[in-house]
Every structure is written in C-alpha cells, then in structure tokens.
Symmetry: C2
Subunit: 290 residues, 2 copies
C-alpha cells in the first residue's frame, strides 16, 4: 500500500459500514471514524479505531475518506455542510461515497472536489450485511480511472466484484439499475406466493418446483422462504429501498424514460411503510396482500 494511503476515515459505521471499516483495520490501515455519539463507537474504538467528534476533524487526518450513510440528505450535509468534507479534506485526498445515493449529487461532489484538488468517487455496493461481513461486496464505481486505481487496494479489502462503470455518477446509476431489477422482481415473487397460497398449494413444494428454472432468482431463493416462515426482519430496510426507488424514478424522469414496474413497486412499498413496516426487511412486501 502506498504510504500516502495509510490513513482512512470511515463515516457511517452502521451494520454494513462497521464490517467494512473492520476489514480495513485488519488490512493494516489506520482507521479513523466519526459518529455523532461516542458511545456508539465504543466497540470500534476498543478495536483500535480512532474516534473524531466531527467530520472535519477526521478529514484533516485522513488520506482517504469513505462515507456510508443513510440518505442523500446525509451525504449532502457531510460533504457540503459548514464543517463538511469538501472544505475540510487535505489537498489530494480521496473522497469515496459508498452510500446508495443520487447520481446527480455524485456529480456535484465530484466537481466540487475537483475544484479543490480532491479526488471523488461514487462507489455504492450490493451484497448487504452478509456481503459486507464476508468482504464479498459488489462495488460499482464512478469517477476518474486514476482515482479508482489509486484506491483499488482499499476496495479489495471490502469487495469481490469491483468495477469502474464510468465517469462520476456511473456507480450510482449502476446501483440504481440493480435496485430497479430487484424492485419488480420482489413484486413478482410476492405475487407468485400469494397466488399459490390462495390456490391452496403447499408453498415449500411450489418453491421446490419453480426456484431452479426460468422463474429463479436470488429473491425467490433467499427471501421467499422468509416470507413463508413469516420472518420479516431486515435484511435490507423497506425505508432505504423506498429511498433508492425514489432516486431511480427521479433520475429516470430526468432522462425522459418511463419505468412503470418500478413506479408500481414503489407505490406498493409506500403502502406497507404507511402501514408501519418501514423498518422491516424488503421481503415484508408480501404483507401488502394481507
């Protein structure tokens, strides 16, 4: 590892970010973290990470800063807020947003960073908590090739499928394509089970017949059994998926394309969120038919 890449900041050490930061620590990086309340970081601090009480303080120490937060509004504040990364980062630093966020915001960050002599990449991931824990994430990056190459060893500590998809925003666009494919498929998986249930079939038997053929999918194999078992714990939160679908629909509208399947999926998810299921896993969509 190049010596100037030794200090990595990680903002957003939740379920996924915590695992990812841990892999960097294990890889020999000096890992700096910021959390609003220090108590939430106790475990990571005990593991040797260095805590800061503000993003700017972390930024002043680090060569590379990774953000992995909840919503585009959080990203915007961390990068552009009064005490934000764009203003506070050291010249030549690398800023990597791994949050699933808006492609347009990724472009804004890239341009603002460039104007200050910083290197920004958007690099959202898929693979969920399990992928984060096993350092098996798919990392979809957008930005300059030189910056991507420079931080590639860091990506390698966290992911398996690591691809530069294009210029700034391309990582976020790729993640949107991922979420779009998932959205309608979740509707199909739920409707298939609801149909089978109402037809009086044994749902385990149905899954056995249909999972390995042309109807097969990750969701059918991994989430349908949880739907049948009535286990709706996350996994991936309904509220975050709704955020992602909103970003995708927004981007699609700007491009002038209609995505009726995605629009329908978002409506169904908003219905279950309104019914109090926002903090359940995405497979709780099954309950929309209850």
């Amino acid at each position: 590892m190049a010596s100037e890449m030794k200090k990595v900041g990680f903002i957003g050490t939740g379920v996924m970010g915590g695992s990812m930061a841990g892999h960097l620590k294990d890889g020999g990086y000096e890992v700096h973290i910021y959390t609003r309340t220090k108590s939430k970081a106790e475990e990571l601090i005990a593991g040797g990470m260095i805590w800061h009480n503000a993003p700017a303080g972390l930024a002043r120490e680090c060569d590379v800063i990774i953000t992995m937060v909840g919503y585009p509004s959080d990203v915007e504040e961390i990068y552009f807020g009064g005490d934000g990364l764009i203003a506070a980062a050291k010249p030549g630093a690398y800023l990597i947003d791994m949050t699933t966020s808006s492609p347009a915001l990724a472009v804004r960050i890239y341009e603002a960073a460039k104007a200050r002599g910083l290197h920004a990449l958007d690099a959202p991931v898929s693979g969920g908590d399990v992928g984060a824990r096993n350092a098996a994430l798919s990392i979809m990056a957008g930005g300059d090739k030189a910056a991507f190459d420079a931080v590639y060893p860091i990506f390698e500590r966290m992911g398996k499928q690591i691809l530069l998809q294009g210029a700034a925003g391309a990582g976020q666009h790729t993640k949107m394509a991922n979420q779009i494919a998932i959205a309608s498929n979740m509707v199909g998986v739920c409707e298939a089970l609801i149909y089978a249930k109402n037809a009086g079939l044994d749902l385990d038997g149905v899954l056995q017949s249909i999972s390995t053929g042309a109807a097969g999918s990750w969701s059918l194999s991994n989430l349908a059994p949880r739907m049948i078992a009535g286990n709706f714990e996350p996994g991936f939160y309904v509220k975050h998926f709704i955020k992602d679908m909103g970003i995708a629909l927004d981007s699609a509208q700007k491009m002038g394309i209609e995505l009726p399947g995605l629009a329908l999926a978002r409506d169904l998810y908003m219905r279950i969120a309104d019914a109090g299921l926002a903090d359940k896993g995405t497979h709780a969509l099954y309950l929309a038919w209850d």
Copy 2:
C-alpha cells in the same frame, strides 16, 4: 415398466413435445403420435413412432396419452371434442395434459375422466426447449397420487424435478405461480437495462456488477445478454406468455386477489404483440421501450 404402460400416445409434437416424445421412444415405449398433417410427422415416423390421423384413433391404442398443445381451447377440443380423448380413451387409461393451461379446465378434465373410469393428471412443465431436449424439465403435477405414481417412470424420462403439487389443477396453479414470478421479473430486467442504457453505461459492465447479487435471476443471466445483443428469437413465445398471464389473471380474479405486477406485465406484453412481436421471444419486452 409395467406392461400395461407400454403404449404411450403423444399429441402435440412441436419443439418441446417432439423432444419429449423422443425420450419416451428412447426409453423403450411404443410411441403413438397424432398430427393434423402427416408430413409434419415424417421425422418422428422415420424414428419409429406410429402416426394416427385423429386423436380418437390414437386413444384407442394407448395406455397413456400425453397432450402438449398450444392453448386451452386446443386442450378443450382434444379432450372434449366430438372425437375427443375423454370419449375415446380405453377404460383405465391415463390422460396427462402437459400444456400450460387453465386450472379450472384441468379440474373439468379430471372429473370427466373419472366419470368414465380414466385417470387424468395436469402436469405442465418449465425448462423450455433446452430442458425438453435434455430431459431436464421441472414437471408440476396435479391429480391423484396413485395416478401420479403409476406414470412416474414416464415423467422420469422427460424431467428432473418432478413433484405432485396437489389435487387436479394444482400442477397448473404451480405453473401459474412460475409464470407470475417471471412476468414481473422480466419487467424489472428490461427497466434496469433501459435505465442503464439511458444513463450512458456500458450494459455488459452493468450486468457484470449486478448479475451475481441480490438482483440476480435466471432472466438477468440468460435473457439480458440477448436483449443487449438485439437477438429476440424465441426461446419462449410472447404470444404463449400472454396466454399464460391471461389464465393466471383469470384464476386470480376468481380467487379475489389482485396481482397488479402481473397485470402491468401483461399490458406491456400486449403492447409489443400489437406492434408485431407476438412470435418473438419473451425478452423482446425490451423493445417496449423503443
């Protein structure tokens, strides 16, 4: 094989049925076939199958009769027409409809067959032309367990995943669940690619990033590359898929359940059929956005 199961009739020796009948012939069965025009059966006759010029003639010779035709209306005519199987089959014969058809019609066939001392099963398949050719179909059966067990050796010549899903109609209902899962997923796969294309991404790169994770599916792995390549040959016909979705929506309505994802998928498919793509493969849905 029990001696009384030696003679098998096969009605509907198209792309899939032809392969399936061939496996029975290879398995030592005496295979009888019916086609409207003899010339269409020349190859199968040359291979040792016995041709009949009417379903009734075939029925009078066979212990087991398999039907694998296009539409429920074809099934209805072959079973209930003036010269149909219900009237013409030998007492104790087994009638197996492997067409993807209406669950309600499967129940009607079962009851009419039973009243005449015949055994009827519905046993639609998934796996397409490749599954038929490789004797690797998923066979989803409905009917009496004794009848299922009796013809199991015949199913084994054609399929790998062979399950009795319940009483008469349960095979068709299971196949409907299969088609319902496929329908919305096809919408999601198309929308993901359309989005990515409009975002200016390299579609092969996007597939590399998203195919192996939570967005992964048989359709994404097998059909998305054909969409990208602009190859819309069937595979599985748009017109047949529209038929299947119509049956599923009809059944769902009778059950009093709403399947908005399936309804949307059917509308999109009808749009491309109206545009002249009914005889293309189901992945031609991609062209709905052109």
